[in-house]
Assembly symmetry: none
Homo-oligomer: 246 residues x 2
């Protein structure tokens, strides 16, 4: 089921209306904290664990709908954790966290079963989007929730990554896509550059804040080009997206 909160954000819920439960497993506290905060903000219920043993224990009584699992844990191998998790929760989808340079082929095999993975350092938009996808597809949440975001005549498909304006197909790069998704998931709301940076760029990004301006400019070129603009600047506050006709 999806409901729309008073703030206009769409929340994933389980069939019985209770919040989705997610278990986060990582040995770096800063990562579990970051993820917990962000996922709680999605309206989900979060528990975290710092090693494999803790993960299995927590999984046993928390019965999460999804697990975020770092492949590098201090006490046991990622695959071992996965195996034991599967014994407890046969159908729960898992989102793997892996180092950028990790052996990709092993992961590729793992994701065959419907799981997914992101590489560190990740952006929160990416993690949240993939988790939403996993949960949606696993059937833990109501199937009717779909993957289309629509604002005015602008559409974005989270599954196929297809974006159209007025029926016309638009090609976006990965970063442009994530930025637009974030804007479209918060229509008519002013988002500050800091919020955008925190959400769309990876947590270790140390660069200039004006990348946001730059990518807003790219998006405008592709989405608003020659049309009634949908992306608006609120000087001194941030940016927002809204349907052209208003």
């Amino acid at each position: 089921m999806t409901t729309t909160s008073p703030q206009g954000r769409t929340e994933l819920l389980r069939p019985d209306g209770s919040p989705v439960r997610v278990l986060v497993v990582d040995d770096e506290m800063s990562i579990t904290e970051l993820l917990s905060m962000a996922l709680r903000y999605e309206g989900w219920q979060i528990r975290s664990a710092g090693d494999g043993t803790g993960a299995i224990q927590t999984a046993r009584d928390f019965r999460p709908d999804a697990v975020v699992l770092d492949m590098m844990l201090p006490d046991m191998d990622g695959l071992t954790v996965l195996g034991r998790l599967r014994r407890e929760l046969p159908d729960v989808p898992v989102l793997f966290l892996t180092a950028k340079d990790a052996v990709e082929d092993r992961i590729a095999g793992l994701t065959a079963g419907g799981d997914d993975y992101v590489t560190k350092p990740f952006s929160l938009e990416e993690v949240v989007a993939r988790l939403r996808g996993l949960i949606r597809r696993s059937g833990a949440a109501d199937r009717r929730s779909d993957s289309m975001l629509v604002v005015g005549d602008l559409t974005l498909d989270e599954d196929s990554h297809e974006v159209t304006r007025a029926g016309e197909n638009i090609h976006l790069t990965a970063t442009e896509f994530e930025l637009l998704r974030f804007l479209m998931r918060n229509p008519r709301r002013v988002l500050s550059k800091a919020q955008i940076l925190d959400r769309v760029w990876s947590y270790d990004f140390g660069g200039q804040a004006n990348v946001v301006e730059l990518y807003i400019s790219y998006l405008r070129r592709k989405i608003d080009a020659g049309r009634e603009p949908m992306i608006h600047t609120r000087r001194g506050a941030g940016y927002l997206i809204k349907p052209a006709a208003s």
Copy 2:
């Protein structure tokens, strides 16, 4: 829940009807005093602390609904305080205070969990508005409270920063917006130029007092232009806003 006080101001309340509780943490006494005064005026219950240790202790038994936290504390790093706070109060939203020049300087990730920040020197109107936003979105206050201020045919949306009069969209600059918000949050009440200056301009503003007159004049041009005026001067006392038809 929102109720309207005898003075006509709208207050945020917790679901059980008790006042919202806010913890203020800053090592400069003048700042905690300033904030405490202003936030108490909102009808909230305030406690303050001057360092990280005190903050954790106070948080433990005060159980605030929101925290205002200076990132520069004498005894420990802002992030450390944050981590310990989170252990005590996992879901409490935090409003960070940061120095203007320390900007960008690792505020990263902080707004991702729904938290927010303001830079010093701030205006009280800004702090109050952001705190209200955080509390509203955190669910500590009743979800029915929304982000719209309405006085007569004039509306102001705190999320989208949109202002309309008689359905017509009006563009305001950041300062104009904050001034109007302050007026609209105190309808039918005379606000002195000193009050307005203290509230809408940052606490270190050293300029001429007639900026208030100037910005009132700007607002009138945009809001009252050719219409029944809503902004009124009480000579020798201040200004007030009220619905046109009265």
